[in-house]
Protein backbone atom coordinates (compact mmCIF):
# COMPACT_ATOMS: atom_id res chain seq x y z
CA UNK A 1 0.00 0.00 0.00
CA UNK A 2 2.79 2.35 1.02
CA UNK A 3 4.48 1.52 -2.26
CA UNK A 4 1.40 2.45 -4.27
CA UNK A 5 0.95 5.74 -2.44
CA UNK A 6 4.62 6.56 -2.94
CA UNK A 7 4.27 5.77 -6.61
CA UNK A 8 1.25 8.03 -6.97
CA UNK A 9 2.99 10.86 -5.12
CA UNK A 10 6.17 10.54 -7.12
CA UNK A 11 4.44 10.51 -10.49
CA UNK A 12 1.53 12.79 -9.62
CA UNK A 13 2.31 15.26 -12.37
CA UNK A 14 2.63 12.56 -14.97
CA UNK A 15 -0.64 11.02 -13.82
CA UNK A 16 -2.36 14.40 -13.92
CA UNK A 17 -1.04 14.95 -17.43
CA UNK A 18 -2.19 11.53 -18.60
CA UNK A 19 -5.58 12.09 -16.97
CA UNK A 20 -6.15 15.45 -18.67
CA UNK A 21 -4.80 14.17 -21.98
CA UNK A 22 -7.18 11.21 -21.84
CA UNK A 23 -10.10 13.56 -21.18
CA UNK A 24 -9.21 15.71 -24.18
CA UNK A 25 -8.55 12.71 -26.42
CA UNK A 26 -11.83 11.24 -25.29
CA UNK A 27 -13.63 14.40 -26.32
CA UNK A 28 -11.77 14.49 -29.59
CA UNK A 29 -12.17 10.92 -30.79
CA UNK A 30 -15.75 10.25 -29.88
CA UNK A 31 -17.72 8.48 -32.53
CA UNK A 32 -21.04 10.18 -31.91
CA UNK A 33 -20.88 13.51 -33.58
CA UNK A 34 -23.85 14.87 -31.66
CA UNK A 35 -22.32 14.46 -28.21
CA UNK A 36 -19.02 15.54 -29.59
CA UNK A 37 -20.27 18.86 -30.81
CA UNK A 38 -23.03 19.60 -28.33
CA UNK A 39 -20.39 20.55 -25.77
CA UNK A 40 -17.64 22.20 -27.80
CA UNK A 41 -19.45 24.60 -30.02
CA UNK A 42 -19.45 28.31 -30.43
CA UNK A 43 -23.22 28.59 -30.17
CA UNK A 44 -23.30 28.75 -26.40
CA UNK A 45 -24.12 31.91 -24.51
CA UNK A 46 -20.63 33.28 -23.85
CA UNK A 47 -18.91 32.46 -27.14
CA UNK A 48 -21.96 33.35 -29.23
CA UNK A 49 -22.30 36.76 -27.64
CA UNK A 50 -18.60 37.54 -27.98
CA UNK A 51 -18.69 36.62 -31.67
CA UNK A 52 -21.86 38.65 -32.09
CA UNK A 53 -20.21 41.73 -30.58
CA UNK A 54 -17.12 41.34 -32.73
CA UNK A 55 -19.28 40.76 -35.80
CA UNK A 56 -21.31 43.91 -35.24
CA UNK A 57 -18.05 45.85 -35.51
CA UNK A 58 -16.50 44.07 -38.50
CA UNK A 59 -19.70 43.71 -40.52
CA UNK A 60 -19.50 47.30 -41.80
CA UNK A 61 -16.32 46.63 -43.75
CA UNK A 62 -18.04 44.22 -46.12
CA UNK A 63 -21.31 46.03 -46.69
CA UNK A 64 -20.58 47.17 -50.26
CA UNK A 65 -19.60 43.66 -51.27
CA UNK A 66 -22.67 42.16 -49.60
CA UNK A 67 -24.97 44.68 -51.28
CA UNK A 68 -23.56 43.77 -54.67
CA UNK A 69 -24.19 40.08 -54.00
CA UNK A 70 -27.77 40.72 -52.91
CA UNK A 71 -28.48 42.93 -55.94
CA UNK A 72 -27.04 40.20 -58.14
CA UNK A 73 -29.34 37.67 -56.55
CA UNK A 74 -32.37 39.93 -56.84
CA UNK A 75 -31.57 40.32 -60.53
CA UNK A 76 -31.42 36.57 -60.98
CA UNK A 77 -34.66 35.99 -59.08
CA UNK A 78 -36.50 38.73 -61.00
CA UNK A 79 -35.30 37.16 -64.21
CA UNK A 80 -36.94 33.92 -63.15
CA UNK A 81 -40.04 35.67 -61.87
CA UNK A 82 -40.71 37.72 -65.02
CA UNK A 83 -40.15 34.79 -67.33
CA UNK A 84 -42.33 32.37 -65.41
CA UNK A 85 -45.13 30.78 -67.41
CA UNK A 86 -48.38 32.54 -66.65
CA UNK A 87 -50.79 29.65 -67.23
CA UNK A 88 -49.74 28.11 -63.93
CA UNK A 89 -52.58 29.39 -61.80
CA UNK A 90 -52.30 26.91 -58.95
CA UNK A 91 -51.50 28.84 -55.80
CA UNK A 92 -49.46 27.19 -53.15
CA UNK A 93 -51.13 27.18 -49.79
CA UNK A 94 -48.66 28.51 -47.25
CA UNK A 95 -49.32 25.44 -45.11
CA UNK A 96 -48.44 23.11 -47.94
CA UNK A 97 -45.04 24.68 -48.68
CA UNK A 98 -42.36 22.02 -48.90
CA UNK A 99 -39.57 24.31 -47.74
CA UNK A 100 -39.46 27.27 -45.40
CA UNK A 101 -36.63 29.77 -45.56
CA UNK A 102 -35.11 31.84 -42.74
CA UNK A 103 -32.44 34.42 -43.34
CA UNK A 104 -29.42 34.74 -41.08
CA UNK A 105 -25.92 36.09 -40.82
CA UNK A 106 -22.65 34.33 -40.20
CA UNK A 107 -20.90 35.71 -37.14
CA UNK A 108 -17.92 33.35 -37.15
CA UNK A 109 -16.40 31.60 -40.14
CA UNK A 110 -13.66 28.95 -40.33
CA UNK A 111 -12.19 27.38 -43.42
CA UNK A 112 -8.55 26.62 -42.65
CA UNK A 113 -9.00 23.60 -40.39
CA UNK A 114 -9.79 19.98 -41.10
CA UNK A 115 -13.16 20.31 -39.41
CA UNK A 116 -14.69 23.68 -40.06
CA UNK A 117 -17.75 25.11 -38.38
CA UNK A 118 -19.58 28.39 -38.79
CA UNK A 119 -21.69 30.25 -36.25
CA UNK A 120 -25.03 31.86 -37.16
CA UNK A 121 -26.90 34.60 -35.33
CA UNK A 122 -30.18 32.66 -35.48
CA UNK A 123 -31.16 29.97 -33.01
CA UNK A 124 -34.01 28.10 -31.41
CA UNK A 125 -36.06 31.25 -30.93
CA UNK A 126 -36.14 31.60 -34.73
CA UNK A 127 -37.15 27.90 -34.90
CA UNK A 128 -33.78 26.75 -36.22
CA UNK A 129 -33.19 23.07 -35.50
CA UNK A 130 -30.28 20.70 -36.12
CA UNK A 131 -30.04 19.15 -39.62
CA UNK A 132 -31.41 22.10 -41.53
CA UNK A 133 -29.61 23.06 -44.72
CA UNK A 134 -27.75 26.37 -45.01
CA UNK A 135 -27.28 27.97 -48.44
CA UNK A 136 -26.08 31.32 -49.79
CA UNK A 137 -26.95 33.20 -52.93
CA UNK A 138 -24.36 31.15 -54.81
CA UNK A 139 -24.69 27.64 -53.45
CA UNK A 140 -24.66 25.33 -50.49
CA UNK A 141 -22.76 26.13 -47.32
CA UNK A 142 -23.45 23.38 -44.79
CA UNK A 143 -25.85 21.75 -42.35
CA UNK A 144 -26.95 23.08 -38.96
CA UNK A 145 -25.30 20.91 -36.33
CA UNK A 146 -26.22 22.50 -33.05
CA UNK A 147 -28.44 25.22 -31.72
CA UNK A 148 -28.79 27.29 -28.59
CA UNK A 149 -31.46 29.90 -27.90
CA UNK A 150 -29.91 32.67 -29.98
CA UNK A 151 -27.19 30.99 -32.02
CA UNK A 152 -26.53 27.97 -34.19
CA UNK A 153 -23.38 26.22 -35.39
CA UNK A 154 -23.18 24.95 -38.95
CA UNK A 155 -21.03 22.07 -40.10
CA UNK A 156 -19.46 23.53 -43.21
CA UNK A 157 -19.09 21.56 -46.46
CA UNK A 158 -15.39 22.06 -45.71
CA UNK A 159 -15.49 19.46 -42.96
CA UNK A 160 -14.01 15.97 -43.07
CA UNK A 161 -17.20 14.60 -41.54
CA UNK A 162 -19.45 16.32 -44.03
CA UNK A 163 -21.36 14.04 -46.39
CA UNK A 164 -23.96 15.62 -48.65
CA UNK A 165 -26.02 14.05 -51.40
CA UNK A 166 -25.21 15.63 -54.78
CA UNK A 167 -25.70 14.84 -58.45
CA UNK A 168 -24.64 15.95 -61.89
CA UNK A 169 -27.07 18.56 -63.18
CA UNK A 170 -29.81 17.32 -65.49
CA UNK A 171 -29.02 13.66 -64.80
CA UNK A 172 -29.98 11.33 -61.98
CA UNK A 173 -26.47 10.08 -61.26
CA UNK A 174 -25.86 10.95 -57.67
CA UNK A 175 -22.96 10.57 -55.23
CA UNK A 176 -21.69 11.93 -51.95
CA UNK A 177 -19.97 15.24 -51.47
CA UNK A 178 -16.98 14.91 -49.13
CA UNK A 179 -13.87 16.96 -48.42
CA UNK A 180 -10.24 15.87 -48.21
CA UNK A 181 -9.13 18.89 -46.13
CA UNK A 182 -6.68 20.07 -48.79
CA UNK A 183 -8.09 23.15 -50.52
CA UNK A 184 -10.81 25.44 -49.23
CA UNK A 185 -12.36 25.96 -52.66
CA UNK A 186 -12.44 22.35 -53.85
CA UNK A 187 -14.58 19.48 -52.52
CA UNK A 188 -14.82 15.90 -53.77
CA UNK A 189 -17.80 14.09 -55.23
CA UNK A 190 -17.41 10.32 -54.85
CA UNK A 191 -19.38 7.20 -55.85
CA UNK A 192 -20.33 8.30 -59.37
CA UNK A 193 -20.24 5.10 -61.49
CA UNK A 194 -17.67 4.98 -64.30
CA UNK A 195 -20.38 4.53 -66.93
CA UNK A 196 -21.42 8.14 -66.50
CA UNK A 197 -20.12 10.54 -69.13
CA UNK A 198 -18.38 13.48 -67.49
CA UNK A 199 -16.68 16.57 -68.79
CA UNK A 200 -14.78 19.34 -67.06
CA UNK A 201 -17.05 22.29 -66.31
CA UNK A 202 -20.23 20.29 -65.75
CA UNK A 203 -22.38 21.69 -62.97
CA UNK A 204 -22.93 19.76 -59.75
CA UNK A 205 -26.14 20.37 -57.80
CA UNK A 206 -27.67 18.84 -54.69
CA UNK A 207 -29.62 15.65 -55.17
CA UNK A 208 -33.13 15.07 -53.91
CA UNK A 209 -32.21 12.18 -51.64
CA UNK A 210 -31.25 13.90 -48.46
CA UNK A 211 -34.41 15.66 -47.19
CA UNK A 212 -32.06 18.40 -45.97
CA UNK A 213 -31.45 20.44 -49.11
CA UNK A 214 -34.00 21.02 -51.86
CA UNK A 215 -33.10 19.43 -55.17
CA UNK A 216 -30.99 21.42 -57.67
CA UNK A 217 -29.31 23.85 -55.31
CA UNK A 218 -26.00 24.88 -56.90
CA UNK A 219 -22.80 23.36 -55.54
CA UNK A 220 -19.96 23.87 -58.03
CA UNK A 221 -18.44 22.79 -61.32
CA UNK A 222 -16.25 19.81 -62.19
CA UNK A 223 -12.57 20.74 -62.10
CA UNK A 224 -11.08 17.32 -62.78
CA UNK A 225 -12.06 13.67 -62.39
CA UNK A 226 -10.19 10.39 -61.84
CA UNK A 227 -11.21 6.80 -61.31
CA UNK A 228 -10.71 5.59 -57.75
CA UNK A 229 -8.42 2.69 -56.78
CA UNK A 230 -11.01 0.04 -57.56
CA UNK A 231 -11.53 1.58 -61.03
CA UNK A 232 -15.29 1.43 -60.76
CA UNK A 233 -16.22 4.85 -59.42
CA UNK A 234 -15.15 8.37 -60.21
CA UNK A 235 -13.65 10.75 -57.67
CA UNK A 236 -14.49 14.20 -58.93
CA UNK A 237 -12.91 17.46 -57.81
CA UNK A 238 -15.67 20.04 -57.60
CA UNK A 239 -14.81 23.73 -57.54
CA UNK A 240 -17.34 25.45 -55.30
CA UNK A 241 -19.32 28.38 -56.67
CA UNK A 242 -19.36 29.79 -53.15
CA UNK A 243 -16.31 31.66 -51.97
CA UNK A 244 -16.14 30.04 -48.54
CA UNK A 245 -13.77 32.72 -47.28
CA UNK A 246 -16.26 35.48 -47.91
CA UNK A 247 -19.78 34.66 -46.80
CA UNK A 248 -22.12 36.81 -44.73
CA UNK A 249 -25.82 36.55 -45.51
CA UNK A 250 -27.23 33.03 -45.61
CA UNK A 251 -30.59 31.30 -45.92
CA UNK A 252 -31.54 28.44 -43.64
CA UNK A 253 -33.78 25.93 -45.38
CA UNK A 254 -36.20 23.67 -43.58
CA UNK A 255 -37.85 20.75 -45.28
CA UNK A 256 -41.29 20.67 -43.67
CA UNK A 257 -41.73 17.02 -44.63
CA UNK A 258 -38.44 15.91 -43.16
CA UNK A 259 -39.81 14.43 -39.95
CA UNK A 260 -42.43 12.47 -41.83
CA UNK A 261 -39.81 11.15 -44.26
CA UNK A 262 -37.47 10.12 -41.46
CA UNK A 263 -40.26 8.43 -39.55
CA UNK A 264 -41.33 6.47 -42.58
CA UNK A 265 -37.76 5.44 -43.34
CA UNK A 266 -37.25 4.31 -39.76
CA UNK A 267 -40.36 2.14 -39.88
CA UNK A 268 -39.28 0.63 -43.19
CA UNK A 269 -35.83 -0.20 -41.88
CA UNK A 270 -37.22 -1.81 -38.73
CA UNK A 271 -39.29 -4.26 -40.67
Amino acid sequence: MQQIINFVIRYKHFLLYIFLLMISLGFTIQSHSYHQSSFFNSSNWLTGNIYNASNSVTTYFGLTEENKKLVEENKRLRNILFNIKQEDTIRLDSVALAYTITSGQIINNNFAKARNYLTLNKGEKDSIKPDMGVITTKGILGIVENTSRNFATVQSVLNEKSNINAKIKNTDHFGSLVWNAKRYDVVQLVDIPRLVKLSVGDTIVTGGMSSIFPENVLVGSIQKFDLDTSNSFYTIDVKLFNDMTNVKNVYIVQNTDREEILELEAITEDE
Binding site: K12, H13, F14, L16, Y17, L20, L21, I23, S24, L25, G26, F27, T28, I29, Q30, Q36, S37, F40, N41, S42, N44, L46, T47, I50, Y51, S54, N108, N109, N110, F111, A112, K113, A114, R115, N116, Y117, T119, T153, A181, K182, Y184, T245
Partner: protein, 168 residues
Protein backbone atom coordinates in the same frame (compact mmCIF):
# COMPACT_ATOMS: atom_id res chain seq x y z
CA UNK B 1 2.09 37.03 -4.96
CA UNK B 2 -1.33 38.60 -5.37
CA UNK B 3 0.05 40.65 -8.20
CA UNK B 4 1.21 37.52 -10.01
CA UNK B 5 -2.29 35.97 -9.84
CA UNK B 6 -3.78 39.17 -11.18
CA UNK B 7 -1.31 39.46 -14.03
CA UNK B 8 -1.80 35.84 -15.03
CA UNK B 9 -5.60 36.11 -15.00
CA UNK B 10 -5.56 39.22 -17.19
CA UNK B 11 -3.00 37.60 -19.49
CA UNK B 12 -5.17 34.47 -19.73
CA UNK B 13 -8.30 36.39 -20.73
CA UNK B 14 -6.52 38.73 -23.13
CA UNK B 15 -4.66 35.91 -24.88
CA UNK B 16 -7.88 33.92 -25.37
CA UNK B 17 -9.68 36.96 -26.80
CA UNK B 18 -6.78 37.97 -29.05
CA UNK B 19 -6.48 34.40 -30.27
CA UNK B 20 -10.13 33.82 -31.12
CA UNK B 21 -11.06 37.28 -32.37
CA UNK B 22 -7.92 38.19 -34.28
CA UNK B 23 -5.59 35.30 -35.00
CA UNK B 24 -8.19 32.62 -35.66
CA UNK B 25 -9.63 34.87 -38.38
CA UNK B 26 -6.30 35.85 -39.90
CA UNK B 27 -6.00 33.15 -42.60
CA UNK B 28 -2.73 34.43 -43.97
CA UNK B 29 -2.10 32.67 -47.34
CA UNK B 30 -5.44 30.97 -46.84
CA UNK B 31 -4.50 28.67 -44.00
CA UNK B 32 -2.02 30.25 -41.57
CA UNK B 33 -3.63 31.04 -38.23
CA UNK B 34 -0.86 31.58 -35.68
CA UNK B 35 -1.55 30.31 -32.16
CA UNK B 36 -0.18 33.06 -30.00
CA UNK B 37 -1.88 31.82 -26.81
CA UNK B 38 1.13 29.54 -26.33
CA UNK B 39 2.82 32.66 -24.93
CA UNK B 40 0.87 32.05 -21.72
CA UNK B 41 2.93 28.93 -21.12
CA UNK B 42 6.11 30.75 -22.09
CA UNK B 43 5.46 33.62 -19.69
CA UNK B 44 4.10 31.57 -16.80
CA UNK B 45 6.36 31.77 -13.69
CA UNK B 46 8.93 29.00 -13.51
CA UNK B 47 8.85 28.25 -9.80
CA UNK B 48 5.13 27.64 -9.51
CA UNK B 49 3.03 24.70 -8.46
CA UNK B 50 3.35 22.30 -11.36
CA UNK B 51 -0.04 20.63 -10.99
CA UNK B 52 -1.79 24.01 -11.02
CA UNK B 53 0.17 24.95 -14.14
CA UNK B 54 -0.88 21.79 -15.99
CA UNK B 55 -4.49 22.27 -14.92
CA UNK B 56 -4.47 25.91 -15.97
CA UNK B 57 -3.03 25.05 -19.37
CA UNK B 58 -5.80 22.51 -19.85
CA UNK B 59 -8.41 25.19 -19.10
CA UNK B 60 -6.66 27.60 -21.48
CA UNK B 61 -6.74 25.07 -24.31
CA UNK B 62 -10.34 24.22 -23.53
CA UNK B 63 -11.41 27.88 -23.69
CA UNK B 64 -9.86 28.19 -27.14
CA UNK B 65 -11.69 25.00 -28.13
CA UNK B 66 -15.04 26.42 -27.08
CA UNK B 67 -14.55 29.29 -29.50
CA UNK B 68 -13.13 27.36 -32.42
CA UNK B 69 -15.46 24.31 -32.47
CA UNK B 70 -12.41 22.05 -32.40
CA UNK B 71 -13.44 19.41 -29.82
CA UNK B 72 -10.51 19.25 -27.37
CA UNK B 73 -7.59 19.52 -29.78
CA UNK B 74 -6.18 22.68 -28.26
CA UNK B 75 -6.60 21.27 -24.76
CA UNK B 76 -4.72 18.08 -25.60
CA UNK B 77 -1.78 19.84 -27.23
CA UNK B 78 -1.55 22.59 -24.61
CA UNK B 79 -1.58 20.13 -21.72
CA UNK B 80 1.19 18.20 -23.48
CA UNK B 81 3.54 21.17 -23.69
CA UNK B 82 2.62 22.16 -20.13
CA UNK B 83 3.75 18.72 -18.98
CA UNK B 84 7.02 18.64 -20.89
CA UNK B 85 7.90 22.30 -20.29
CA UNK B 86 10.36 21.49 -17.44
CA UNK B 87 12.12 18.96 -19.66
CA UNK B 88 12.44 21.51 -22.46
CA UNK B 89 13.73 24.11 -19.98
CA UNK B 90 16.35 21.73 -18.63
CA UNK B 91 17.40 21.00 -22.20
CA UNK B 92 17.64 24.66 -23.18
CA UNK B 93 18.92 26.36 -20.02
CA UNK B 94 20.95 23.49 -18.55
CA UNK B 95 21.63 23.38 -14.82
CA UNK B 96 20.97 27.13 -14.43
CA UNK B 97 17.31 26.26 -14.02
CA UNK B 98 17.98 24.67 -10.59
CA UNK B 99 19.18 27.93 -9.05
CA UNK B 100 16.78 30.16 -7.16
CA UNK B 101 18.03 33.26 -8.94
CA UNK B 102 17.22 31.97 -12.41
CA UNK B 103 15.09 34.32 -14.50
CA UNK B 104 13.84 33.96 -18.04
CA UNK B 105 14.89 37.54 -18.78
CA UNK B 106 18.46 36.90 -17.70
CA UNK B 107 19.05 34.10 -20.21
CA UNK B 108 20.41 34.81 -23.65
CA UNK B 109 18.17 35.72 -26.57
CA UNK B 110 19.10 32.51 -28.38
CA UNK B 111 18.03 30.42 -25.40
CA UNK B 112 14.69 32.21 -25.14
CA UNK B 113 13.98 31.71 -28.83
CA UNK B 114 14.95 28.02 -28.68
CA UNK B 115 12.68 27.52 -25.66
CA UNK B 116 9.75 29.21 -27.40
CA UNK B 117 10.39 27.40 -30.69
CA UNK B 118 10.48 23.99 -28.99
CA UNK B 119 7.19 24.71 -27.19
CA UNK B 120 5.60 25.74 -30.51
CA UNK B 121 6.92 22.78 -32.51
CA UNK B 122 5.72 20.20 -29.97
CA UNK B 123 2.35 21.92 -29.61
CA UNK B 124 1.75 22.18 -33.36
CA UNK B 125 2.86 18.61 -34.02
CA UNK B 126 0.45 17.23 -31.44
CA UNK B 127 -2.31 19.57 -32.58
CA UNK B 128 -2.16 18.84 -36.31
CA UNK B 129 -1.56 15.12 -35.81
CA UNK B 130 -4.77 14.95 -33.80
CA UNK B 131 -6.66 17.30 -36.10
CA UNK B 132 -5.88 15.52 -39.35
CA UNK B 133 -5.59 12.10 -37.72
CA UNK B 134 -4.38 10.02 -40.62
CA UNK B 135 -0.91 8.80 -41.51
CA UNK B 136 -1.77 9.13 -45.18
CA UNK B 137 -1.57 12.88 -44.72
CA UNK B 138 1.78 13.01 -42.90
CA UNK B 139 3.10 15.51 -45.43
CA UNK B 140 0.13 17.79 -44.81
CA UNK B 141 0.74 17.59 -41.05
CA UNK B 142 4.42 18.49 -41.49
CA UNK B 143 3.62 21.29 -43.92
CA UNK B 144 1.08 22.81 -41.56
CA UNK B 145 3.38 22.43 -38.56
CA UNK B 146 6.25 24.11 -40.39
CA UNK B 147 4.29 26.97 -41.93
CA UNK B 148 2.03 27.79 -39.00
CA UNK B 149 4.80 27.14 -36.47
CA UNK B 150 7.04 29.69 -38.20
CA UNK B 151 4.26 32.25 -38.24
CA UNK B 152 3.49 31.59 -34.58
CA UNK B 153 7.15 31.94 -33.64
CA UNK B 154 7.54 35.26 -35.45
CA UNK B 155 4.37 36.70 -33.92
CA UNK B 156 5.25 35.43 -30.44
CA UNK B 157 8.70 37.06 -30.72
CA UNK B 158 7.03 40.32 -31.71
CA UNK B 159 4.70 40.05 -28.74
CA UNK B 160 7.50 39.25 -26.30
CA UNK B 161 9.49 42.25 -27.44
CA UNK B 162 6.40 44.47 -27.20
CA UNK B 163 5.38 43.31 -23.73
CA UNK B 164 8.69 42.42 -22.16
CA UNK B 165 8.17 40.84 -18.75
CA UNK B 166 9.97 42.34 -15.80
CA UNK B 167 9.36 39.69 -13.19
CA UNK B 168 11.55 38.24 -10.45
Amino acid sequence: MNNSYFVNTIRFILLVLVQVLVFNQLNFFGFINPMVYILFLYWYPIKENRAAFIGLSFVLGLSIDFFSDSMALHAASTVTIAYIRPAIMRFVFGVNIEFQSFRLGSSTKAQQITFLALLIVVHHLVFFTLEIFSFANTLLILKKTMAIGTATLILCLLFTSLFSVKRP
